[in-house]
Symmetry: C2
Subunit: 389 residues, 2 copies
Amino acid sequence: MMSAGLSTNFRLEKVSGVARAARMSTSHGEVLTPAFMPVATQASVKAISPEEARDCGSQILLSNAYHLALRPGVEIVSQFGGLHKFMGWDGPILTDSGGFQVYSLGRIRKISEEGVNFKSHIDGSTMFISPEIAIRNQEMLGSDIAMAFDECIGYEAELEDTKKAMERTHRWAERCLAAHSRIDQAIFGIVQGGHSPSLRKQSISAITKLAFEGFAIGGLGVGESKIEMYKMVELVSPRLPSNKPRYLMGVGSPEDLVNAVSFGVDLFDCALPTRVARNGSLFRSDGRHDITSSRYRSVTGPIDAECDCLACLNFSVSYLHHLFKCRELLGYRLASLHNIRFYHKLMEQIRMAIFEDKFDEFRQGFLEKFKPANEKARLMQRKAIKSWS
Amino acid sequence: MMSAGLSTNFRLEKVSGVARAARMSTSHGEVLTPAFMPVATQASVKAISPEEARDCGSQILLSNAYHLALRPGVEIVSQFGGLHKFMGWDGPILTDSGGFQVYSLGRIRKISEEGVNFKSHIDGSTMFISPEIAIRNQEMLGSDIAMAFDECIGYEAELEDTKKAMERTHRWAERCLAAHSRIDQAIFGIVQGGHSPSLRKQSISAITKLAFEGFAIGGLGVGESKIEMYKMVELVSPRLPSNKPRYLMGVGSPEDLVNAVSFGVDLFDCALPTRVARNGSLFRSDGRHDITSSRYRSVTGPIDAECDCLACLNFSVSYLHHLFKCRELLGYRLASLHNIRFYHKLMEQIRMAIFEDKFDEFRQGFLEKFKPANEKARLMQRKAIKSWS
């Protein structure tokens, strides 16, 4: 089932302020936006089965072409006719190209105009990724949406270096498009430019001139404060074409999603809900709760009486607390299911509020009630995001 | 739903040689025997949900009163009205009393006629279990079948010490029965006597005189060879009352189950199928296979074409190999599901062979095809069984 090109299949349904509700078609079905994409970096949403992901509301999963190229190798996956069959997920898949992972490698990579030389974090072997290889890998994986291969740069970088990385990202974007040939696969461009408003505007101009079917905001969540991150999303998002999907990469917490939707973002991914779940941190509308705390030892009710996830429908806080204390694997699964369901339900509520033209009211109500994780927890998150996950 | 006493509800359906097929009623439903009980030591079958256990054929689960008394504590579980509600499993549950765990504690326990003083392996606090406390704990947990509190002793013990432990087990058995009051809960006695045929016969005589509703063979799998273990099962099992269930505790591998059924055993439990699953060791009718081996890297078929488990129906060997290489939690779940299903299917085949009065033929066919784990792997297993699992 091939699409004629995703760009023609992004249908805006409703706008409330700058927030948008839309339908995005892919070769493996439709995605109602704003949408959150659970992270299946290594072809598995951590602790969750594909069926469970579907049941808790996942419409589209994100996987990582860089990780899969290293292990098991794209040739192995292509034996199955692609990633969908390999991992047992028949819905849409977006693959990240690996730009961010290469950035995370720090000293063990060497970037040239041609591409990036680096050492595999698995076996130390020498590897090379160019824009052409990144696209070939994603075509072999057969994801519904491929991402351009970009050069990401840290928050502390000099303006001159940020500019160079951005310009290279633009040249690489053209090479990605030239290399891309699968007509059943969309390709999204990535706007870079660090934390300079002027560079970001240049990047928007350069990237949106190209024939991408969607646009991502890259290079955020690399060490800046939330305020700075929001400022940049507010600057970039509304300047992207309104008739194409807008994707904020790797962000973030529930409050980040609500805020970014208010700037017109449609798509999100983040490892946060599943990663913190495995540490026993569970989301509710009032914030995060640490299930390992002794205060939950004998609570016979569910985590969240408003929640319809498998964990809340079938198990108590006390049992979940016990599973975490015993490090039983079922605990990690139930907590992950709960947090993913929380994210999807939040997106469903956001979408409904947009349709009712009450998004700003919803946002204010959510932010008043939801207590974000403290700054210390946030810094720990940031470190974790940079490391392999 | 209270039963009038399990002993009246064990109905032999068919005998083939010494092997038996029967139906055992409990307060939470019927169990078709011979049956394997997956181990949910800490109120969770490791890596599996209760629904998945049910779906792959589990009829009855085994949990451990000793472990649950330490964590979360029987008072917590009784808040839920018992273990069934706490862990979300509405089928039958058998609880072990903790005799074997106390044996495993080695030096950090002190046994007297009154009971056992020991230090908690969780927080080092001083604990005490007597026959009365072991029964009280199991009554508070509300399992369908409670086990008497026995004194288990190692393979290397002197005959005199083995005799003393056996005699104490007999006195404790009487105290367990005297302390037991829940009429909706059956209680099974445990035959001890180490590796002395004469002591085993004495123990059978003493224990089967008491009003237990089923009889277990304890004190095996403590360091002896398979041959010695089989000899003891062959000696004890047929001498137990034929109108009551016979349970071989903590044993074992697929070939152990097939052999023990040929001596008239009805019930089994063992941590082996789930523990080795988490190490990537998967059962098939020809033996165990290590899924982490590079030979499985690109095998697109299921683990076992004859298997109807969730893993075999939905995923490939290659994907499972990948999950194990990446240490993805889904891998441990799928492997555990597969191995538990293998055990249940084996018991279903055994039961069918008994009904067709072809059990011995089945046993020979199975043993010809199934290659047991090598002696080295077996010694490692034995060590692991002795440690906390």
